[in-house]
Every structure is written in structure tokens, then in C-alpha cells.
């Protein structure tokens, strides 16, 4: 009669106790200077425009993934609307700068604010639901926003999209890497500067007092409420902040590519970000950035496997999940 009668321990497979291996964490005061140095010297090492483009693309993915990381690592919710918020940022920046309504920097600010506002508008009703209902509610919203980008032709350009979006005015800023690479190095520094800022925001929000409240909400909302915090406010604030960061990522993307079209802002965009966060360690900002780099760079070397890219990634994702299950990490 040694069968388990008591409910199984959370995080164990069917009640059997398994050894849990802790998630590695890097303290910010060591990691940040290291990251800054790495970003600073990277263009000198790459020294060619193609690699610099790949590295910039990795940075753009990292910003979006970090936005998602905040939501998954904080309130523990998954959002499929983030592809839409990403699109809001990209389209707002595109519309404002193509029409010369605003210059780049104020436009980027407005784009981020617009994403935050849409995040609040979506979040207030959607956050009434939890976990899977929330995921599906945001799925509905993500699909709706994608339809708006494709269908509201007079504003978004419809399926044709918006072209000739001006890039960030960076010419003239002296940059050490430009000795080796003429073009692209300023964009690289700009994108990775944003990555580092968003990364620090992630770490500060998730590990500070705010993050502690979020963590407690995940354990017990009633308990947090009894301590005088309002869980609803914390959840909404994180969601809106995350949406704003996604819009910032969208703005950065739009100015870098100089074009926005409806195909780039679907629920699959959100899903890619979720995959990056999942492999990166769910709430682990450094892991998220590292995964964004790996998932951007590796396919560039897998041209032989180009046709099977999707299949290879699916297998990779499954292997990661399997390993996490074997280590006893709860996903």
C-alpha cells in the first residue's frame, strides 16, 4: 500500500518525486557590463554588412520576445495579441513618418504610447479571464487586429502595405565600428541599445518589488489582495507595459525594414515570440535574448535545410520541452 493517495506534488510527473535542477540566473551587475562590451565590439568582429544585418534582425526579434517575456514571466499569461500590438507600433510609426506628420523620434514615442493604449483597451476586458481563456481571448483579438491591418485600406494600405518608411536619422553620429563597416552599423547599435534597455527593464520589473507582487499573484490572488495590493492593477499594468514594448519593437522593425504589410503582424508573429521565451526559460530575460540570437543565426547556416526549416524548428521545440519535462521544470 505504498501507492500515492495524496494529491501529486506540483512540478512532478504523476506524483513521483523528481530531483529538480535549479534554473541558472546571472546577477545583473556582472552580466550587464559584459553585454554592453559584447554589443560594442560585435560590429568590429563581424566586419561585414551581411552578418551585421543578421545580428540586427536578431535584436529586433529579441525586443519583441522580451516584451512577451515580461507577460509570461510576470503574470504568467500568454498573449496572441502581441503580433497585433507589434503591428500597431509598426503601422503608427509608418503612417506618421511617411506622411511627414512627425519626425522619427516623436513618432516612435507616439507608436509606443499607441501600443500601450491599445494594450490597456484590450487588457481591461481580456484580463477578466485567466490562462487559456485569456490566451484564446487574445487570439481572437490578434486575429481581429491582423484583419484590420489587411482590411482598413485607406489608412494601412491594405494588402499592399506602406512602403518607403524613413529610417531613424542616425547619420552623422560618430560610431567606432564605421571604420570597418560603412552602412548598417548605426542601425545595429540603435537596435541593440533598445534591446539592452528593454532587457534591464525586464530584469528590474520581474525581480524588484513589483515582480514580487506579480509572483505572489500567481500563487494566490486572494492572499495578495488581503495584503492590500490590487492584483487587477498589477496584471493590467504589466500587460499594457508589455504591449507598449511590443509596439516599440514594431516601430523599430518598421523603420529598419522601411516597409510594413499585414503578413508580418499575425498570431504567428506572437507565437514565434512565445517560442523564443519558452526556450529561453520563461521569464528569463537573458535566456530570451540568447534564444532570439540562436534562432535567428542558426537558420542562416542551415541553408541546406532551408526547405525543412519549419520541420527542424518544430522538432527542436519538442526536444526542448521534453528536456524541461525530464528536468522537472514546470512550463
Amino acid at each position: 500500500m505504498t501507492e500515492t493517495i495524496s494529491p501529486p506534488e506540483p512540478g512532478t510527473a504523476r506524483g513521483r518525486r523528481r530531483r529538480r535542477i535549479p534554473v541558472p540566473r546571472l546577477p545583473l551587475r556582472f552580466a550587464l557590463p559584459l553585454a554592453i562590451v559584447l554589443v560594442a565590439v560585435a560590429p568590429l568582429v563581424f566586419a561585414d554588412a551581411y552578418r551585421l544585418r543578421v545580428a540586427t534582425a536578431a535584436g529586433l526579434l529579441a525586443i519583441l520576445a522580451l516584451a512577451m517575456n515580461l507577460l509570461i514571466g510576470g503574470p504568467g499569461e500568454i498573449s496572441f495579441a502581441h503580433g497585433g500590438f507589434y503591428g500597431v507600433g509598426a503601422y503608427v510609426l509608418g503612417i506618421l513618418t511617411v506622411g511627414n506628420t512627425l519626425s522619427f523620434w516623436p513618432a516612435l514615442l507616439v507608436a509606443t504610447a499607441a501600443g500601450t493604449a491599445v494594450g490597456v483597451a484590450v487588457g481591461i476586458p481580456a484580463l477578466r479571464t485567466r490562462t487559456l481563456s485569456f490566451a484564446i481571448a487574445t487570439l481572437g483579438m490578434g486575429l481581429f487586429l491582423a484583419n484590420v491591418f489587411g482590411g482598413w485600406t485607406s489608412v494601412t494600405g491594405g494588402s499592399v502595405g506602406l512602403a518607403n518608411i524613413p529610417r531613424a536619422p542616425l547619420d552623422g553620429i560618430p560610431v567606432p565600428g564605421s571604420i570597418f563597416v560603412q552602412s548598417g552599423v548605426r542601425q545595429f547599435y540603435l537596435v541593440w541599445l533598445v534591446v539592452l534597455v528593454v532587457l534591464v527593464l525586464n530584469v528590474v520589473v520581474l525581480r524588484g518589488g513589483f515582480g514580487n507582487v506579480l509572483k505572489s499573484i500567481k500563487r494566490s490572488e486572494v492572499l495578495v489582495e488581503s495584503l492590500g495590493f490590487r492584483p487587477g492593477f498589477y496584471r493590467l499594468a504589466t500587460f499594457a507595459f508589455s504591449a507598449g514594448l511590443a509596439a516599440l519593437a514594431g516601430g523599430m522593425y518598421a523603420q529598419y525594414i522601411s516597409f510594413v504589410g499585414p503578413d508580418n503582424f499575425t498570431i504567428f508573429t506572437a507565437f514565434n515570440a512565445i517560442v523564443v521565451v519558452a526556450i529561453g526559460g520563461l521569464g528569463n530575460a537573458w535566456g530570451t535574448v540568447a534564444t532570439a540570437i540562436v534562432l535567428t543565426v542558426v537558420p542562416e547556416y542551415l541553408h541546406a535545410l532551408d526547405d525543412y526549416r519549419v520541420v527542424v524548428f518544430a522538432v527542436l521545440l519538442f526536444v526542448v520541452l521534453r528536456v524541461r519535462a525530464a528536468l522537472g521544470w514546470r512550463t
Binding site: A13, R14, I72, A135, V315, L317, A325
Partner: protein
């Protein structure tokens, strides 16, 4: 008026096919707790298999039907054992990501091997149409509607009144209590998954006679089915049926009188609003 009724009836057929996908999804979700993002690829695989048997090999659709359904059930059996069970209790997010990986794997593979070819379709063996109070509906649509609704009704009855159905509801309610009561939880999980994929197979078989077969055939039904599951109450077969039929009619009317591209936008907005208004689903019941 006649036009509206015609659209509504076509929508009912569309809705019945959505329901077939949605009841499987709702069972897998309610009992196994898997948000099964790969459910749509079963529909797609079944459509390709139907094409292979009926068009390439010249079988009769009636002979091919049981083969397709059993084959899809077997596929579900393998998948549950190989992919989902090993992930065990590592959480809903892990299961969702695994499901998406399966989706990408199968869809990517089919796109690689069949994606470049022209979209194909299976012709329905019976022609003709039925007139009903001034509105005509093709025999094909009538049969699809009847088959889909009959399969759903049998499932709803089985969940309510058979021993297996009782065990299924017990597992959905509380897996640990069910295990203590002597119910083989793994066994229930396995068969619920097999039944769900077999139903998706039936949906794919029927769908193959209506729309061109592409690797993305299952995407739209999957997304709508997810909406149906959430709005209809997760795990509720009756809720899924009501909401599915209603959503099919709404989409068909919107596409008929409005524009095609906005009809899906409105449907997704309806989902969002309905979900917010009733966070636990319209029915709110479990299985």
C-alpha cells in the same frame, strides 16, 4: 428573404463541420487539458488521405470513409503516446507549445511535399439538390449536415450515458479522484484523444468535398473551433454544438451580405466580446 435563408442554411452546413472539429477539441481540452493547436492538421491530413484514396486510387467515397476515420484514430493513438503523454504534468503551456510543434511539423512537411502542386478537390459521388420551402440545398450539403450532426449527437449521448462517458467526465472533473476510484486515467486519455482525432478525420473527409485541399486547409476550422470551445464552455459538447452552428450561420450571412474579408474580422470580434462577457463560456458546464 429567400437569399437570407439560403445563406443561413449554407452557414448551418459550415457550422456543423466546425462543430465536428470543435467537439474533438473541447474533449481533448476538457479531459486531457491540452490546448490542442495541432487539431487542425488532422483535418488537413484526412483531406489529403481522402484525396489519395478516392481520386488517386479510385475508391468509392463510402469505402474510403471508414479507412480515413480509422487511420486518423490510429494517428491520434500514436501522437498521444509519443508526444503528449511524456510531457505529463509539465503544464498547459508545455502541452500547447508541443501541440504547436506538431502543427508546424506536419504542416511544414506537407507544404514541402504537396505545397507546390495545384490545390485539389474530391468530387462528391451524388449530384442533385433538395428543395425545402422554396430554398434549394444540394444533396452533398444535406448529407454533410446530417452526418456531422449525427456524429456529434452520438458523441453527446455517449458522454452522458455510457460507462466510458461517465469515466471521461470523472477524469475531466478530477483526475486524482478518478484514479482513486479505480478509473484507468491513461486509458481514458488515450481513447478520448483517439475519438477526437477520428472526428477531425471525419470533418476533413467531408471538407475535402467542399474546398480545395491545401496544407492550410485546417487552419480556419481550428481557429473557429477554438473560439467555439471557449465560448461554448470548455469540455461542453452541447455548448460547442450550439455555438458552432450559430457561428457558422453568422459567418455565412456576413460573407453573403457584407464582404468576405470583414466577415472573419467580425466573427473574431464576437468571440472576444462573448468571452469577456461570460469568462466561463456560454454554457459554463464541464463535459
Amino acid at each position: 428573404m429567400g437569399l437570407a435563408v439560403g445563406y443561413a442554411l449554407n452557414g448551418l452546413v459550415l457550422g456543423a463541420l466546425y462543430v465536428l472539429v470543435a467537439v474533438g477539441l473541447t474533449l481533448v481540452f476538457g479531459v486531457l487539458r491540452i490546448p490542442h493547436f495541432a487539431h487542425g492538421v488532422f483535418v488537413m491530413v484526412a483531406a489529403y488521405l481522402t484525396f489519395a484514396l478516392v481520386v488517386a486510387m479510385g475508391w468509392n467515397l463510402l469505402v474510403a470513409a471508414p479507412v480515413v476515420i480509422v487511420a486518423l484514430g490510429l494517428l491520434g493513438l500514436v501522437l498521444e503516446r509519443v508526444v503528449y503523454r511524456p510531457l505529463g504534468r509539465s503544464g498547459e503551456l508545455a502541452l500547447m507549445l508541443a501541440a504547436f510543434a506538431v502543427n508546424q511539423f506536419v504542416q511544414g512537411g506537407f507544404q514541402k511535399f504537396f505545397g507546390q502542386e495545384y490545390a485539389r478537390q474530391v468530387s462528391f459521388p451524388l449530384d442533385g439538390s433538395v428543395s425545402l420551402g422554396g430554398v434549394t440545398l444540394s444533396v452533398q450539403r444535406v448529407i454533410a449536415l446530417v452526418v456531422a450532426l449525427a456524429a456529434t449527437a452520438v458523441l453527446a449521448w455517449a458522454v452522458r450515458h455510457t460507462k466510458f462517458g461517465r469515466a471521461t467526465r470523472a477524469v475531466a472533473e478530477d483526475p486524482d479522484a478518478a484514479r482513486i476510484s479505480g478509473i484507468n486515467v491513461d486509458w481514458v486519455h488515450r481513447w478520448v484523444f483517439v475519438i477526437a482525432t477520428a472526428l477531425a478525420g471525419l470533418a476533413g473527409l467531408l471538407l475535402a468535398t467542399f474546398v480545395p485541399i491545401t496544407p492550410f486547409l485546417g487552419d480556419q476550422p481550428l481557429l473557429v473551433a477554438f473560439a467555439i470551445v471557449v465560448v461554448g464552455g470548455m469540455g461542453s459538447v452541447v455548448g460547442a454544438t450550439v455555438v458552432g452552428l450559430a457561428l457558422g450561420v453568422v459567418e455565412s450571412l456576413l460573407a453573403g451580405f457584407g464582404s468576405q474579408s470583414w466577415s472573419s474580422a467580425v466573427v473574431f470580434l464576437i468571440i472576444f466580446v462573448a468571452l469577456i462577457a461570460r469568462p466561463n463560456g456560454v454554457q459554463g458546464a464541464r463535459v
